[in-house]
Point group: C2
Chain length 295, copies 2
């Protein structure tokens, strides 16, 4: 007798890979967390961490590597939007019965809105927006720090440094925010210039909580930066609403900071996510079942 298939969801991001395995009836088998599965960090590394995470999830429920070929795996991976990487990944020797791959943001959107027609905003060191409109996914933003990521933590910090130099030069009035940022660099603009030459998005993002705190306290420079960021977030969400998204869930470390600042019209559309990204990945895995029935 053929053993029944197992549904597995995989959420692969830049710092960790999570897997969750369930029986067909929904019974949890187990979960496991390993290292990065961002395809941009290397297809081989991602594959290795994914296989380890799925194996670990099986082992947590008393199964093991011998059961990998029973698994229908739905995965959302950072970097899966780059066709060349996705193709290389799917062409590698996957030990699973079947695999469905999409962007990490898509499984988060599936998990948040299992009924479809919902959108998510990912508001962290970077920013991106995904909507599921009747089963069709639309992604906007997510272009990264250099040419996009407005309203991200990196963007907030970067703007704060720029404005602080304008305050240093007397072009705009200094505020507690600009004073604090200049003090961080010992009031030496050259130190900030040197920082900027090598700073990664996460380095700029370190200043984001300070910017948001100062905006809460009414600091004019901080308020102007955060107001512009909120305007960018709302413009992106209005775009997704105009395409048919009728509810929105917020993700990412900055979500709790931005939520209270959204306009009533947008706030009225905000709902908590119905489930997490791994459940979205499991929904994706379940889309493989019809193929299985005719195999």
């Amino acid at each position: 007798m053929t053993e029944p298939v197992i549904l597995v969801g995989v959420d692969g991001g830049g710092t960790r890979c999570r897997a969750r395995a369930r029986q067909l009836d929904g019974t949890l088998i187990g979960e496991c967390v390993t290292g990065t599965a961002n395809l941009l960090a290397g297809v081989e590394t991602a594959l290795s961490n994914i296989v380890a995470a799925v194996t670990g999830a099986l082992e947590a429920g008393g199964l093991g590597a011998a059961d990998l070929n029973r698994c229908l795996v739905g995965m959302g991976l950072a970097g899966a939007n780059i066709p060349e990487l996705a193709d290389r990944f799917l062409a590698s020797s996957l030990p699973f019965r079947r695999t469905a791959l999409e962007m990490d943001g898509w499984i988060a959107c599936r998990g948040a809105h299992p009924g479809g027609n919902g959108a998510i905003a990912i508001l962290g060191t970077g920013t991106a927006y995904v909507a599921n409109i009747g089963g069709r996914f639309i992604t906007i933003g997510g272009w990264g720090f250099h040419v996009g990521d407005q309203a991200s933590g990196a963007w907030l910090g970067h703007q704060a440094l720029r404005q602080s130099l304008l305050a240093f030069d007397g072009i705009i009035a200094a505020t507690p925010l600009s004073d604090a940022i200049l003090a961080h660099f010992d009031n030496k603009p050259d130190a900030m210039v040197a920082f900027g030459k090598t700073a990664l998005p996460r380095d700029y993002g370190e200043f984001a909580p300070l910017v948001l705190d100062r905006a809460d306290a009414g600091d004019p420079i901080a308020t102007a930066i955060v107001d512009e960021a909120v305007g960018d977030i709302e413009a992106s969400l209005r775009r997704l609403a105009s395409l048919g998204a009728d509810r929105i869930s917020l993700f990412g470390g900055l979500a709790p900071r931005y939520a209270p600042r959204l306009s009533p019209a947008i706030s009225a559309m905000i709902v908590p996510p119905a489930s997490d990204a791994l459940e979205g990945a499991l929904q994706l895995a379940a889309t493989l079942l019809p193929k299985e029935a005719f195999a």
Copy 2:
């Protein structure tokens, strides 16, 4: 009998070093152009190109290397605002009788306003502003692409790329500018993202003429970008005016593009530069004469 001293002006920038030598009575001896003398490109390289330029200027007038020790040299060098580099340069074995060193922007300001109390705006791939207020130099901006250089060619191009991605995502309305920029990247945002990961300021600056041309034609995205840039330039110039600068000269490749866009109040202060940066460097060289008289 001791041979009379020679006055030499040196203007050392990122792409070339120019030198001009004059007799004490102002008679031109000669000029010469060599390669970069930006201290950030290396103190040894700068020194080598400066000595070659000064020697060449002397040779153009029938003198030569044997006369270097008669030269009072005033030099404006890119990177001279960084104390560690300036100190290393001045501590190296200079073949001149005396040397005075300052930022390249300062000699440009001296040349533009020999009478003092004037300001200059340098509007090129980067932006910087210098004022001479009663012999005291004030520099604002010039912090570079990563944390400053608002309104620069690099800034214009960078903003245009960001806005074009917003148009691609349907967050703002597309315009001829955003269409042209997306077409440059074969309408593939990933190509723009890849460009942004390695683009230098001059790479972004390649798009500046297009942005300005489209603004002239009334393109809404281009107009918004250029209007913000003009606002930044005016804020900087108002700051220098408030400190006592009563006239302003514009330098850099973008000066002719911005000049017609300045407000009447700022435009009324614009004057052509009285002379070039090399004449400013010669003025700096002349400040060494009193020391010579007591040598």
